[in-house]
Symmetry: D2
């Protein structure tokens, strides 16, 4: 049941292959009677679409989801909500030479072993980053439901290839800032870093290479007391969801690995009462204590590895002939997927957070 | 169902409070007929026990698990295996003054909100680090089953308060090294750092403070093809399990956040054939591609925040009176829980890995 | 997560409404590399299609499933297999007068309360018997995988309106008989009862009424040792699946309610060795002991209530005006859904059985 | 994960073997802050205890549960609630001659195959009816929580060996009747049948045989709108739970198999408004439509097969020597377990119903 994100009573069953008939998802467990703004869903999905600035693939993905079920008179029905996105512009011949020469860093070889050679290898098949499109659809739906409860989320590029954006103010992020970041082609807080990031990506592309980065995500408006200790808390569900995004290799809440060089007196978030509400003067713990929200923003970061599909010649293996070989990957590939992964991280955060509220 | 670690068909249901009648776990889904060495289980659990070097609490925890079910004639029966550990040395009066003054960094306040004031607050209750004892029991059992299939795991202290141990050789770790590390009072690879780490802990303790760190864990012998894409792969299950350990705030596979400053050509692990087997010349991805093992060691690190229970006076809130207050935590507390958390990380890795093999 | 049939690592996520864009299912957890005969899937689905003999609705359902994912080069890929069936001939105006006048025996009122008025009421929406079409698709796929392991299943009409067919020989059913039954328009063992059943249905239809019945299902070739005690055994999974079929109100294994009038000496199935294999001289327990198969055929029966949509005027309530009213159901409705439910019962049995073998 | 009853966010993990160290359960997902009457729990459990009238085994089961966790200051904490029952009076030598001669009708052989000979065979091990004691504990807890919401349940013996009690009035059952039935040694509605039932049991016992029966269970006070269509509705969850009771071989909601001889016009429950509330003039559907409660009592029956442990000599197989043999079962065995199974059925109904309300 590997492609069902089951969190509590909410489940998102994702299906499809990059070059098959279509991709999509079934969302089961949504509350009923929630009005959805389909245009806003499309806008959210557009944030993931390839950019026109040369930073991402030329493949024109219409990626218009068709809602097949669970949506009636403009509202959720409470029964499974299904969206299908057709695969149209697939040009699978571009991938013909990679069927047995494993792309290093990809799941070509591991998928071959796992599925005993039967999985669809075209364009990465079910392992393709394209599978994040239905995830973004689901996250857009969940985000609208969260918004009606005063909960907002926003992700941005924290780093690309060593160029760092500002971090969110962990004590509070305004709706205005969130909305601005979401509208930017390079979703950063400090716009002055965008150009430097673009340059790093272009440089890598010109060298037939790729770069990685970090995405930071914040969720505001979540009241205290949401989550659980041990295995089904905020960190467990968010991490299970975020590792569902191809290329994510690490996740950290609050100071994360920075805690390794902190003292307890510094790491502990001093608590105080403001207008009758418990608050903290710092938010080193990313708003989570014992798996449960404390009322401050939930903050986490995710590391995105450089996309493994690079144009440089690479030594690798042919896993059918079981021999060494050299590979030159053709086709269209992003030199940096971090900008496109930003709405995906935000989307899965929405799914994970909503799962605690239904 | 927050305290059930359900991974595929394996489930570990953990129960208990720090100062209640007892703690324990029910392991459901184990294979039948596996001989278990109960002495080795106790030895594994002893690695988590408080150390006598002043680094950890003076509480003498007998922590002898009683196996109530699922074990017959020295072998697993295949039906639920249950272990109970009695709480004996509890001295709950030490905690009497913290019932409503939230310990900053702890789940006192969030647990109070989550359970509407009904949870057992003594010694952290169900949020206590003591709940990791049954997890270690379960991980010791799973580790013995893995060993029969040639799979070994080992965790060590990678860092305490800025003092770093060597990392594992990601291309292979010998059984000898693993066994040595496990027997050390400070489980490090490079023994010369142990003393420096101890000093940092003692210094923090003398300053009524605490320190955090990083734990690295390796799993060797896992064949290629284990795991799944998207939401039920190695990273998803391991992270869901590891975030079940109190104090863990981040997890990274392979280079983790280091990918943010790498090029794809560097990050991709070059593949080659050796004696008919696919290998890689580097292992930046921690042995996992698309959620599936590639045959190289699985490597991950987890950040451990400094224990929040420090003797320094702290500003905080009384969440019943809803007013600001000052708190001085009495009682026995480790200035650094990283050494004791090492076998816990190894244990949950064992559980997560075994869950893919049954 | 009400519409996901999750049994072990196999999950079937069913979606759609009777008069929405389409219905379908996502099957996650199938083994990879299994060749599927798509014509045979269509033939299985045709057994559920409306019959032309006046016994069922005139709605011409093309019901051709489109496989969107998980199927490549004629084989399962091991990744989610998705099928979509478009809704075409819907004529929703026929249902216009039943939106608030609850059809007695239907889920109109309970669904309205459950989903706070937001569910799609047209044609029963997600509660429609039409949702069994994707279930049959999934069961046809699972059945082909079972057949490759020598496991066969067959359901038949055991009773319609008091007219009884012969029961299966619980000690063994030939493939020939199974295949014959499946090809019959009235799937019965003793063909002489078919005409009597048809007469009962026609009589009921002529009186603007409907009739119920019983379906018996057998699974042969299942080896001993499949299943588990307590909550995840053969009976648990099969019953959870079978109650997913609208109109099923009871399920019995082996002698079922007949045990209430039996002695233990009669109910116990005497065991003996034949050619080195353990067999039983009777099979009163439907091949299941302690939730686990014993090697004899698995046998169960399911009660199908008379379809509640009858043309007779009925007293009921308008649940929006909250007042009594009278209802005359127009539109096309089967006077007996038992024949069409036969392949559905067989399909969910296939899903449940396969879930134990992957 | 066979012995975890996971229903929505509620899970009951049952463990133990008849002659091991102890049995018990972990209940995860209970609401917090619910006061529990432990005496009432013991009274509920006493209803399952062996009777002194010669109808059941002489084994004196103290069966006092010790609550180890999840219960503080007389209330549920919301964290896992654990109860352990020690095995004391086990006399395992009585079972020495049945270790390889399969008791017909029992899981001796199927368990042996399933667990490859490693399961604990003493007294049925994990398959023993004794495992229903922790289930009753869990059901007693859930029942108290339901009662605080005005939901009551009651089971009674509907039949033993062909002697039938009255059925519940499906339109409503008074608290007084429920309480009376629960206090009776033979829990029947019509007390005049108790003596006849006892006679049938004694007769069977005198003939070294056993008898089966039917249990009926009603749940009142459940509001309309509880449950879901397809796979996670009231019927699915109740049946999954009820088939967790050893010896249950069938379950029926409302008229159950009786629907096979009814017309739709008769089966449909006519709806009307009474004091602003939707009611039905009959309750043939057992209060459930489309898997969702309609506001009338939920009614189901379960068939209990005659206990397979009979003193009569039986032909069977020795599954280790793989040869035919004769078996004479010694030891203490009930000639009829139906009376003791009554509170068990009620208990699992409580668990299943509560799972929908948290």
């Amino acid at each position: 049941m590997s492609s069902v994100l089951k969190l509590g009573e909410l489940s998102v069953s994702v299906f499809g292959e990059s070059h098959g008939g279509g991709i999509g998802c079934v969302i089961d467990g949504l509350p009923s009677g929630i009005a959805l703004d389909t245009d806003a869903i499309l806008s959210f999905m557009a944030r993931r679409a390839p950019k026109k600035d040369g930073m991402s693939t030329a493949r024109s993905e219409a990626d218009k989801p068709e809602i097949l079920s669970g949506f009636f008179n403009g509202k959720t029905t409470g029964t499974p909500l299904t969206a299908v996105i057709r695969n149209t512009d697939t040009r699978s011949q571009d991938y013909s030479n990679i069927s047995a020469a494993a792309r290093p860093g990809h799941a070509d070889y591991t998928g071959f072993v796992r599925y005993e050679g039967a999985n669809d290898p075209r364009g990465g098949g079910h392992f393709s980053g394209r599978l994040t499109a239905p995830l973004v659809f689901a996250g857009a739906v969940c985000g609208q439901i969260l918004a009606k409860r005063g909960i907002e989320s926003c992700a941005h590029i924290l780093a690309i290839d060593g160029v760092y954006d500002d971090s969110f103010d962990t004590l509070g992020i305004s709706t205005e800032l969130m909305n601005s970041v979401k509208m930017r082609e390079m979703p950063v807080i400090n716009e002055s870093v965008a150009e430097k990031m673009r340059e790093r990506v272009k440089l890598a592309a010109s060298e037939l290479d790729s770069v990685g980065g970090i995405i930071e995500c914040a969720v505001t408006g979540l009241p205290a007391g949401i989550g659980s200790p041990m295995f089904d808390g905020l960190e467990n569900r968010i991490s299970q969801a975020v590792f569902g995004i191809p290329a994510v290799k690490a996740i950290a809440f609050g100071k994360g690995f920075g805690f390794a060089e902190m003292r307890g007196s510094e790491a502990n978030d001093e608590m105080y009462i403001e207008n009758g509400t418990v608050k903290t003067r710092t938010n080193n713990n990313g708003g989570i204590y014992g798996g449960i929200s404390g009322g401050m923003p939930v903050i986490f970061t995710a590391a995105i590895r450089p996309t493994p599909s690079i144009a440089k010649p690479q030594n690798t293996v042919d896993f059918i002939k079981n021999e060494n070989t050299e590979l030159v990957i053709k086709g269209r590939h992003d030199a940096c997927i971090v900008p496109r992964a930003v709405p995906v991280v935000e989307a899965v955060a929405n799914i994970a957070i909503l799962s605690f509220l239904i």
